[in-house]
Amino acid sequence: MSAQETVFAVAAAGIQVAVVVMGAPYLTGLMRQVRARMEGRAGAGVGQPVRDLRKLFHKEATRPEGTSVVFVAAPLVMLASAVFLAAVIPFVTTVAAVGGVSDLFAVVAVLLLGTVALALAGLDTGTAFGGIGASREVTIVALVEPTILLAIFALSVRVGSSDLADIVAGTLASPAHVLSPASLLAAVAFAVVIIAEAGRLPVDNPSTHLELTMVHEAMVLEYSGRDLAMVELAASMRLALLLGLGVNLFAPWGVATTLAPLALLLGIVMLIVKVALVGVALAVLEVFMAKLRLFRVPELLAGSLLFALLAVAASYFLA
């Protein structure tokens, strides 16, 4: 890779970060707006999360007495992991400045790092709700993990690699594979994973006010001001990242395989369009769902595990 190409690739990564950071709050706003419209409301507008964030960044930050550096560092870790992933996942182009960072296992593990940081912060406050949230979050994480890795397994069989860039490029090269049973089953499994990891219905209700039903919200009850802004931004970025990951794994059309400016532009537009479409679809589906009892969630996850396992089996036997 020539020096110029490296510069371009770095710039492309920068563009991805900018698109995800700027776009994520609007995605959250869009999903809330869709939900509001379906409920017959007027809705606060797509830009409401941006207004919320802008305000939160300028509010006073507080720190409960008796908390340690973990409490302060957790939002930073969470946001940094999201920013890192926005740079390395091939959203816009499959050409990367450096190799060895976009392996799907590593991507999932870095995502998990953010979750763990927040869970530790929830425990660090020493409140009952923070602890409950952390406890539930790691339980869900532990049960989601097998599904994720098996889905990755199923996807990687096709191209013989678990590197995201390879998978995306492989799907671009032979689009018919998307309709294979293995791919479809993996897509279903992955959808459940995205819902569980992003804390959406029916696993977690992002707009609940009732502490006893919270998972993600319970861990952030103590945050305020810029710390809360970072957590909220990171949470919307994670949703955007997961949705972007999902669409690029199963419908990568539009992702540039070169660094040509026009291809990059198309990549950006397609990314925004695709993620927005999936986001709207998710929001519409959520209107029809109620939150599952926490102890029914394992059933959902066992089901998704089954799909992932079948996907792997199908990729072995029907290949």
Partner: protein, 683 residues
């Protein structure tokens, strides 16, 4: 004179002379000398290991040293990697022991006794000679020495707690059952191969009948599996590791357990030269069950050291998955994949040694500072013991297999090896096609539960508010303990960001095992970990750098955007309630409650609820006591029937021993006659 000579001479000489000196010197200088001697023996091990890894084969024979024959030592790269591992753990544990075994101002530390202090270097030395042994007799002698010295160390605190005696009994029983299995297996092997040196075994292995080879393999699997703590022979781990002094726990859990893995690789792949596919599947299955069972028990454990012991079973299980899968693919002739998986197992052994040392030493610091192992009573240590907390955090990050921790690297290599078991268009055999996805699922669930386990251990044990006065008044450990932990944590960090550095060494190890080597499994590259033969690359260094850069970027942007006004310190929000009470916090038990319920069918926890009403009325409740115990279900299902059988045999055989000397002599005579008749008939 090579590096190995120097190293092993240092080990043997240092340990013997050191033990003698320690036995003679007064109590107050013993911790320092014992620690230094142990660390010195460890340095010897590291030197010998580096020498072994550099590739040149090294053999020494000392005829007549052992009663039945010669002592034969030989160091190759496979020995080297385990010498390095044991030596490095010993250095950290030795330095740590200087502080840990020192007497507290007002009471005597049982770990400071003459026996214990003199035994530690001997234990380390006997461990170091296990990978260097090159004949059956030598191996069995040092193996037994290792078992005896560790048993003495486990029993250190037997005057304080009766549970120590119980643990010692279990450990002694299991380790000797294991020894019998290894001895039977190797002696049978040696008898058929026509020689007891490893060279003779290697040469004779090919001529053994398949049934004989399999018998030998199963026997050594039982023996080494018992030492490695594989299910169902794991029962001694959660007893002995918590009860031993913590630096000994670290030595046992990080180093000695790895020697079980060493034995399995040495006999299975080197001496026997690999075997049929079902060997691999057997090891893979045992490994998967161990990993899952271990992590499940760890995720609901509340005793910090018991949790770490179960986590050892988990990690050994992961290593066994790698070894088993390597065996399966080696039997199928896919040596590139087998090489990657074997490299994954070895790398995980190194990583596990590094983070488990940190964790056990950290648990020891907590134990010394608070007298507590119970996570339900800990908490808030981050303010009282900041450095210990930070170092424990590094270890926990590694054990949770999260980037940028070191455990993540080896689990990644393991997963890569497993998922490349099939490529498009190549139909795999059904057994592989079923067992490998299940193995991936097990590794994944293990990783997930591992995260839950170590979030609990770190979050409940070290963060939040203290849950007892002992935890609230803890003080940071003395300097040597912090240095010991620091050494281990530093090796965690190095392994985490630059695992590619050990790629060359691992390749030389695989050279010893031609069955599982095609090309160098981890291509040499300083920055990125590239797997040979399969498409897979990951750069822990770049990921770490990327994360740090992102964090800096985020911090700078947030500072520009929001300013850097200090956070107002406020009371904890307790829903309008007046103040926080540490009784509102989640304990380890309540933290693991959702998991306990999800895995209710497997764990079957036992609950006790006592409701105490006021004397005035049965309806007014004064207090509610809730106790939960999660017994080891495998142990409960398998061992009592076994022990009952053994006991009934014992009762029966007492009839044979009625105290008459004549009868005893007659037994000897009959035995001799039978032996003679057997010899006469068979020859």
């Amino acid at each position: 004179m090579t590096l190995v000579d120097v190293g092993l001479a240092l080990v043997a000489g240092g340990a013997l002379a050191g033990a003698l000196v320690i036995a003679l010197i007064p109590r107050h200088v013993r911790p320092l000398i014992s620690g230094l001697v142990t660390a010195g023996v460890g340095v010897g091990g590291v030197l010998a290991g580096v020498g072994g890894l550099s590739g040149a084969a090294w053999t020494r024979v000392a005829p007549g040293l052992l009663p039945l024959g010669e002592a034969r030592l030989s160091v190759d790269a496979l020995s080297g990697v385990f010498l390095l591992l044991v030596g490095a753990v010993a250095i950290a544990a030795g330095i740590y022991g200087i502080g840990y075994t020192a007497d507290a101002p007002h009471h005597e530390n049982p770990a400071g006794s003459r026996t214990t202090q003199a035994t530690v270097p001997l234990f380390v030395a006997s461990m170091l000679f296990v990978p260097a042994a090159a004949s059956v007799t030598t191996l069995l002698v040092v193996w037994e020495l290792m078992a005896l010295t560790s048993l003495v160390l486990v029993l250190t605190e037997h005057r304080l707690r009766p549970s120590v005696r119980d643990a010692g009994l279990w450990y002694g029983g299991m380790t000797h059952a294991g020894l019998v299995a290894i001895m039977t297996g190797l002696v049978v092997f040696a008898a058929d191969a026509g020689g007891e040196t490893f060279e003779a075994l290697r040469a004779g292995a090919a001529d053994l009948s398949p049934a004989m080879r399999s018998t030998v393999f199963v026997l050594v699997l039982i023996g080494f599996g018992a030492k490695a703590g594989l299910v169902p022979l794991h029962v001694w781990l959660p007893r002995a590791h918590p009860e031993a002094p913590s630096h000994v726990s670290a030595l046992m859990s990080a180093a000695m357990v790895a020697l079980g893995i060493y034995g399995l690789i040495r006999v299975g792949f080197d001496l026997l030269g690999g075997g049929p596919r079902w060997w691999g599947l057997l090891v893979l299955t045992i490994g998967a069950v161990s990993a899952l069972f271990g992590v499940l028990q760890a995720s609901v454990a509340t005793d910090l050291k018991r949790l770490l012991a179960y986590s050892t079973t988990e990690n050994v299980g992961l290593m066994a998955i790698g070894i088993g899968a390597a065996g399966v693919f080696a039997a199928d002739g896919n040596r590139a994949l087998a090489g990657v998986l074997m490299a994954a197992a070895l790398l995980h052994a190194l990583n596990h040694a590094a983070f488990k040392t940190v964790l056990f030493l950290g648990a020891g610091s907590v134990l010394r500072a608070t007298g507590l192992r119970d996570l339900d009573a800990l908490g808030g240590l981050v303010r009282r013991m900041p450095l210990t907390t930070a170092l424990f955090g590094i270890g926990a990050l590694g054990a949770a297999a999260l980037p940028p921790g070191n455990g993540f690297v080896s689990e990644w290599v393991l997963l890569q090896g497993l998922i490349h078991s099939v490529s498009e268009g190549v139909a795999a055999s059904p057994v592989v096609a079923v067992s490998i996805p299940v193995a991936v699922g097990v590794v994944a669930l293990t990783a997930g539960l591992g995260v839950a386990t170590f979030v609990k251990a770190f979050g409940v044990g070290f963060l939040a508010q203290p849950r007892s006065t002992a935890a609230a008044t803890a003080i940071e450990s003395p300097m040597p303990m912090r240095v010991g932990m620091g050494v281990a944590a530093a090796s965690c960090a190095v392994l985490a960001v630059a695992p590619a550095l050990v790629g060359g060494s691992l390749d030389r190890v695989l050279n010893v095992l031609p069955e599982v080597r095609d090309t160098a499994p981890l291509a040499d590259s300083a920055v990125t970990l590239r797997l040979a033969g399969i498409q897979g690359s990951m750069s822990p260094l770049l990921i770490t750098v990327g994360l740090v850069l992102s964090a800096v970027l985020v911090a700078v942007v947030v500072r520009r955007l929001a300013g850097s006004a200090p956070r107002r310190v406020v009371g904890v929000w307790a829903n309008g309630g007046p103040e926080r009470n540490s009784r509102q916090e989640l304990t380890a038990t309540s933290f693991a409650e959702p998991l306990t319920r999800v895995f209710d069918d497997v764990l079957r926890p036992e609950h006790d609820i006592d409701v105490t009403p006021y004397a005035e009325s049965a309806y007014l409740i004064e207090s509610v006591t809730f106790r939960q115990r999660v017994p080891d279900r495998l142990e409960a299902a398998m061992y009592p029937p076994l022990l009952a059988t053994v006991e009934s045999w014992g009762r029966w055989s007492r009839r044979l021993a009625n105290g008459r000397v004549h009868r005893y002599l007659a037994y000897g005579f009959i035995g001799l006659l039978v032996a003679l008749i057997v010899v006469a008939v068979t020859s």
